[in-house]
């Protein structure tokens, strides 16, 4: 981690597009069983932004995130990350990924879990130790480095997962409902933690969530999506002051924005079974 200084807000840097999706379509299955999970998505995310993708189950928000990470390929359209094709960006290790579950290796201690990507990427032992110590401090888990995942609470495990994603200093962080499995209180605390980390690292973050308050609290922009087919119906600019603190949640503007996002979601609510598409996606992808 070379840049733990306060983030620089240089306008030149801020204008560079980190993620560019143009006409991205994703169809699962074929023939009669084909389901359009995403239809002609256009989205551009600039450096240093925090963009949330929010929408009902089956709107393809996770799929969009996975397309950015080249964990799945688009049926049509083009995804570019850091100006490169998504696949090249993945091979260049341009992004870090955090899932809803921490997905920690239960045979590794906390520190060794954080060092996992560093080992794969061939960092020296000293560098690995230095970085994991630094990251443990960043996610406030000092003293837990020798513990194993089962000895940590769910929130702590997710903090380890975030530290692991940041370990190799990626300029882009993809987060797929990272706090979805946590209780409300832990989630709110983790949101504050994430804001602090974002403030200190300046990483661009794409964040998938089900929670409207969470999306508004964290983001600079919220992309509201609808299902069947998955589309971005509106992008809400969140003009709340930085840094976001506990007080942000008391702000009148915060409530206005929450209402705006909620109403946008409601307006595009599909009739009937929205779960079906999600179930299809899961089946098509072979995910559990």
């Amino acid at each position: 981690m070379t840049d733990l200084q306060p983030r620089s807000a240089s306008p030149a840097a801020a204008s560079r597009a980190v993620v560019e999706a143009a006409g991205v379509t994703k169809i699962f299955g074929s023939g009669d069983a084909a389901v359009a999970a995403l239809e002609t998505i256009d989205l551009s995310i600039r450096e240093g932004e925090f963009v949330s993708l929010i929408g009902p189950s089956g709107c393809g928000k996770s799929t969009l995130l996975r397309l950015i990470g080249d964990l799945t390929a688009p049926s049509a359209g083009d995804v570019r990350v850091n100006g490169k094709p998504a696949r090249q960006a993945r091979l260049d290790r341009d992004y870090g990924m955090v899932f809803q579950a921490p997905v920690l290796m239960d045979w590794r201690s906390v520190a060794r879990n954080i060092e996992l990507p560093l080992e794969i990427m061939g960092f020296s032992r000293e560098e690995r130790t230095r970085r994991s110590a630094e990251l443990l401090r960043l996610v406030e888990l000092e003293g837990f480095e020798a513990r194993h995942p089962w000895q940590l609470s769910g929130g702590m495990q997710q903090r380890v997962a975030i530290a692991r994603a940041l370990a190799f200093d990626p300029k882009l962080l993809l987060m797929d409902e990272p706090f979805g499995a946590l209780d409300e209180m832990t989630r709110e605390r983790m949101n504050l933690e994430l804001m602090k980390i974002w403030g200190r690292t300046g990483t661009t973050i794409v964040f998938v969530t089900h929670s409207i308050p969470e999306a508004v609290f964290l983001s600079t922009r919220v992309a509201v999506m609808s299902a069947r087919p998955g589309r971005i119906t509106k992008i809400v600019d969140v003009d709340l002051a930085q840094p976001r603190t506990v007080d942000t949640r008391e702000d009148r503007r915060y409530f206005e924005l929450v209402t705006e996002v909620r109403e946008t979601l409601r307006r595009h609510e599909p009739q009937g079974a929205i779960e079906e598409v999600e179930a299809d996606r899961i089946r098509a992808e072979g995910l559990g």
């Binding site: 579950a101 996992l116 406030e140 929130g155």
Partner: protein
Amino acid sequence: MSTALPPAVGDGASPGRTRRLSGRRRVAGLVLIFVVVALAWEGAKWLGGDPWRIHGSVLGLAVDYEHFPPFRWRIADDLSLPHVWDVIRAFIDPAQRGGTPLGLDLIGRAAFTFREAATGFAFGALLGLLLAILFVHSRLAERAFVPYVVASQAVPILAISPIIVVATQAGWLSVAVISTYLTFFPVTIGALRGLRAADPRAFELFRSYAASAREILWRLQLPASVPYLFASLRVAAAASVIGAIIGELPSGIPDGLGSAILNYNQYYITAPERLWATIVACSLVGLCFVGLVRVAESLVTRGRYRTLEIA
């Protein structure tokens, strides 16, 4: 923030305590089962065995007791089920007139057979694991080879062992090969399952790191397979002892448990307790071997689970 940190679940000392406690329980369980089996054994003989008599002195008191069972069952007579104390005494009595006690003789044989079994186990485990790694990386190889692997295990080892003995010249090596033959299969099946056991998202995580297939194997698939691997290694450990004993029979190796089984089979009519003593020795070798694998497992997986009790 530090004040809000939830406490870590459990403390460092608890896993060790769990292990010690369960170790003592396991020994107690073994002893208990032994006593229960011995009681059932003698109970059957009490009801339907041959008449018996204790005649002698215990602690200076003259004892003369005779028992006539109410029934006569062939399965409980002295030839089918020698008395527990006769089997125990067989360990102490010399194997040959004026020779060493049978127990000592069996210990030497058990060590010999154990060495063969360990060699076969090592090769078998390695072969089994390599096959599983091959299959997990190549669907084609899996489809082509797995039926043969399964078929190989459907052939009785007794039919194959003479072939191996002739091919490798009767000796230590042929025994190890036969033991390998019996060992690799459970390891292949267990490892194959284990190599695919990791969380699908963990595979995505490694994909996001642009990790090579080798990195995925070493840092994800192999560590994730450890619980499955050890379950199959325990099966393999017991099978390797059987393989070693069976391999000794056609090889004519005189130093192991195999020749003792052959020998006491022939003298079963006159001294059934010796065959029983040898059977006990065989199962103890298997038990020790499986126990060693367990110890290895708990060392490898130290700290990995909430408790060290792994079924």
